[in-house]
Amino acid sequence: MPAMVSGGAVYALLDASDGNHAGAAAAVRELEGPLVLVAPVLTDAMRLAARYLGQALALRLLEATLEGELLLQPLERRDLQEARRLMSLGGALSASAALTLAAAERLGVRDVLVVEPATRRAVERLGLRLWPAEDGCT
């Protein structure tokens, strides 16, 4: 089944030494579906990868998107409107996370792979399915 993915989760998949790597990788194997992301999430993940893993691995994420391993979903005006509403609720939700959750709602995607604590709380509030189910943060 398809799952929306956050920037932190994409990074966790990439970095074998990250505390969330094993949980995120196991979730991907169980989901067996495409990982869907919006452009701000791709740039977030690439920025983290460039800083902590090097530019070559940041570009690897771009390549994975070009190859369809990560499915880039264009944002629509209504996603921005919903993201504004979600962010106005508080909870320290980032713009990338809010846009991800707005796109998930529009697309009917119920599964969200996310490791950032604030976003995980928002996913739970919205009644979406959280992956990994357990918080594996170190």
């Binding site: 956050s6 920037g7 932190g8 989760a9 990074y11 966790a12 998949l13 990439l14 970095d15 074998a16 030494s17 990250d18 505390g19 969330n20 790597h21 995120a24 990788a25 991907v28 194997r29 067996e32 579906g33 495409p34 990982l35 977030d44 920025r47 983290l48 990868a49 800083r51 902590y52 893993l53 090097g54 691995l57 690897r60 994420l61 390549e63 994975a64 190859e67 369809g68 391993e69 990560l70 499915l71 320290a92 980032s94 996370a97 490791v115 950032e116 604590p117 604030a118 976003t119 943060c137 170190t138």
Partner: protein, 66 residues
């Protein structure tokens, strides 16, 4: 709709293998779908190692530092 030449070739293969054209079509579609489905695990999984364990958990804070 299959072109006639494909249909005849399919029937020939099915007869030779003791199968049926419909069974071969099912097998071909299943193989096609399996090949084109996204991989269960993307190729970039585990491609890097930062030596840090907390980057993804702190992603939002780290990105705000920029």
């Amino acid at each position: 709709m299959l072109p006639e030449s494909y249909w005849l070739a399919l029937k020939e293969v099915a007869e030779r293998e003791g199968s049926s054209p419909s069974e071969l079509i099912r097998e071909a579609v299943a193989a096609y779908v399996a090949e084109r489905r996204p991989k269960a695990e993307p190729s970039f999984v585990g491609a890097g190692e930062s030596g840090r364990g907390d980057v993804s958990r702190l992603a939002e804070e780290l990105l705000e530092e920029d």
